[in-house]
């Protein structure tokens, strides 16, 4: 059982989370949402760990307050928000089992990026609150751990801005799951880039609610997978009110016997007129043992909206390949160039040059291997 930490929760709340997970159980492919990511199969005989994993924060810049969730006597802002957002089966598990994690609160506009690293085996929780007008760039790194389940809650206050770059390096044989639940208040903006290089089963789930006018979410991501890797990005983006905006751009390259998955559901609530949502998901398969599964979903209940999505799986463009070769570039180099080019625009959403370079380097390394 848990120690006397902020995550001990009230007995009622703990019971709620624990029973949510227990009754739903570890998802199999028969659960629609996990259709392409059979967690039960990946775990095999191993149970979902009930241990607590580790986290590490980079140098804390001014304007950011931190609370260690393993400690008792949590401040009000932690008590109010922890465990308050939308819960899924796995985030219920992380809430029930995690006995540690980090809470961050940003009150000002912070220039220096903050790095947050998750490592080890087990569960973790994170809570990130940006108060009105606050701004932060968060760089999330994952490392090691054969099995990890991280539940994150993010609350963006009015006019707050969060830039989030998440780097999940290839973790052969590892099961890494992260669920992020988020609310975005009016005029606030969430911009994120997720670079996933796969694992035995790696899944990032995002539940984003745009709850105030002019709230925005712009998501992008790249995946380069080899061998037996699996990487699943599942987003559920809700335009709860009108005049909100969202864009999603995901590019994946799957080689070997890997599997790249994208499920992106966009919901526009009744009356949320003026919502604007675009989604693009594209995958390139290298070799005939890789698989791409794309499911961009639209659930629209308001009529005065602009919603569109596109998805494509294919090979490199023949015209482009010919153009490069006709100018002297050998075929394999031309293919490489085009594969890099294919992933490039998904990285354009990363505002900071240094972070973009970091992601690009990781991509180049993954492509070279």
């Amino acid at each position: 059982m848990k120690t006397a930490s902020a995550l001990a929760l009230t007995p009622a709340r703990w019971e709620q989370a624990a029973s949510h997970f227990r009754s739903a159980g570890v998802p199999t492919r028969r659960v629609e949402d996990w259709k392409y990511s059979d967690l039960a199969k990946a775990l095999g005989d191993t149970a979902l760990s009930e241990a607590t994993a580790s986290w590490k924060l980079g140098k804390l810049p001014a304007g950011v307050e931190m609370f260690d969730l393993a400690e008792a006597n949590a401040p009000d802002w932690v008590k109010t928000h922890l465990g308050s957002l939308k819960e899924t089966t796995l985030s219920a598990a992380s809430l029930a089992f995690a006995d540690g994690g980090v809470a961050l609160r940003v009150t000002g506009a912070v220039e220096t990026p903050l790095t947050l690293e998750f490592s080890g085996k087990g569960n973790l929780r994170a809570l990130i609150v940006l108060e009105k007008n606050a701004a932060l760039t968060l760089v999330e790194n994952l490392s090691g751990g054969e099995q990890r389940n991280v539940g994150v809650e993010i609350i963006l206050g009015a006019n707050a801005q969060l830039h989030h770059v998440r780097l999940a390096p290839a973790a052969a044989g590892a099961i890494q799951i992260e669920e992020v639940a988020m609310t975005v208040a009016r005029d606030a903006v969430y911009t994120a880039h997720y670079a996933s290089f796969g694992g035995k089963l790696s899944r990032l789930e995002l539940d984003i609610a745009l709850e105030g006018a002019n709230a925005q979410a712009h998501l992008s991501g790249v995946s380069v997978l080899h061998g037996d890797s699996h990487a699943d990005i599942t987003t559920r983006l809700s335009h709860a009110v009108g005049n909100t905006q969202s864009t999603q751009l995901f590019k994946k390259v799957a080689g070997g016997k890997s599997r790249a998955v994208y499920q992106g559901k966009v919901t526009v609530t009744q009356g949320a007129n003026g919502s604007d949502s675009r989604q693009t998901a594209k995958a390139l398969l290298l070799g005939n043992q890789a698989e791409a599964d794309l499911k961009p979903e639209l659930e629209i209940f308001a009529d005065d909206v602009k919603c569109a999505h596109g998805a494509a799986v294919g090979d490199l463009d023949a015209d482009s390949l010919f153009y490069l070769r006709a100018r002297g570039i050998p075929e394999s180099d031309a293919r490489d160039l085009l594969i890099h080019a294919f992933l490039e625009d998904a990285m354009a959403g990363i505002a900071r040059d240094d972070l973009r370079d970091q992601v690009r380097t990781a991509v180049n390394e993954a492509l070279a291997s």
């Binding site: 010919f322 002297g328 570039i329």
Partner: protein
């Protein structure tokens, strides 16, 4: 330099070139004119080595070598350059990066030393200025968002950079207004050289006022049906393709 004998080419199972003969020597500028659907683009693509253009019969000899046996990148390294009618857009690849990769790939193939980034940049900048290709265009993704004229100018810039021995210009004038046309023509004329042959493919006579050919061939129904000097262009203009083809028959 280029000897095409009895060339039969089919695309998608359909025969487009039906016994084409053509001979071009170094230092010469030849023009190929023809109505739409006559096979002009097919000729340019088969010379550059595009997949899907199958040589069923005949030969293409380039400086004594069988060109049809070589992949496109090898032909480029040996000095064949095709300025395309519809240059492709490649998002994610900057123009500058592309020029450097292509130039050095060709040099490597020929056993020459590669140029470093600074070297390429200097050379490119110099040539770009002459063709009105802006610094901005060099930084942007290849051809993405370029106007028709900009795309054509970039093609000529590449021709200037790669210094080909056989330059094939496929309807370089299409979509250009007079000013753009003049600029492109100047660029092409500046590259005339006794060691270089050019094949200018065009539908309209207008371009040939600016790039004056030594010889004109009329392509119709997949083969050359008439030949002549530069005056043939004016005759075509006056009579139209149908008539000239009929006269030749």
């Amino acid at each position: 330099m280029l000897e095409i004998k009895n060339l039969h080419v089919s695309v998608g199972g359909k025969e487009i070139l039906k016994g084409l003969n053509l001979s071009i020597a170094a230092g010469q500028v030849h023009a190929i004119m023809g109505p739409n659907g006559s096979g002009k683009s097919t000729l340019s693509y088969v010379l550059a080595g595009r997949a899907g253009y199958d040589v069923n019969q005949g030969s293409i000899t380039y400086n004594g070598e069988d060109l049809a046996a070589l992949p496109p990148e090898a032909r480029a390294a040996k000095g064949v350059f095709l300025a395309m009618q519809y240059p492709v857009e490649i998002p994610g690849v900057t123009t500058m990066m592309f020029l450097k990769s292509a130039l050095n790939a060709q040099r490597r193939s020929r056993g020459e030393s590669e140029l470093d980034a600074i070297g390429v940049l200097k050379t490119v900048r110099r040539k770009a200025a002459a063709l009105n290709v802006s610094e901005d265009m060099l930084k942007r993704a290849l051809n993405v968002g370029f106007s028709g004229g900009e795309k054509k100018r970039l093609e000529i810039l590449q021709m200037s950079l790669f210094e080909p021995k056989l330059a094939i210009l496929d309807e370089t004038d299409s979509g250009l207004d007079i000013d753009a046309l003049k600029l492109v023509a100047e660029g092409v004329n500046a590259l005339r050289d006794p060691s270089r042959a050019m094949l200018v493919i065009t539908h309209y006579q207008r371009l040939l006022d600016y790039i004056v050919p030594d010889r004109i061939h009329v392509l119709a129904g997949g083969r050359i049906v008439a030949e002549g000097g530069k005056e043939l262009a004016l005759e075509l203009e006056a009579k139209g393709y149908d008539q000239v083809v009929k006269d030749a028959a």
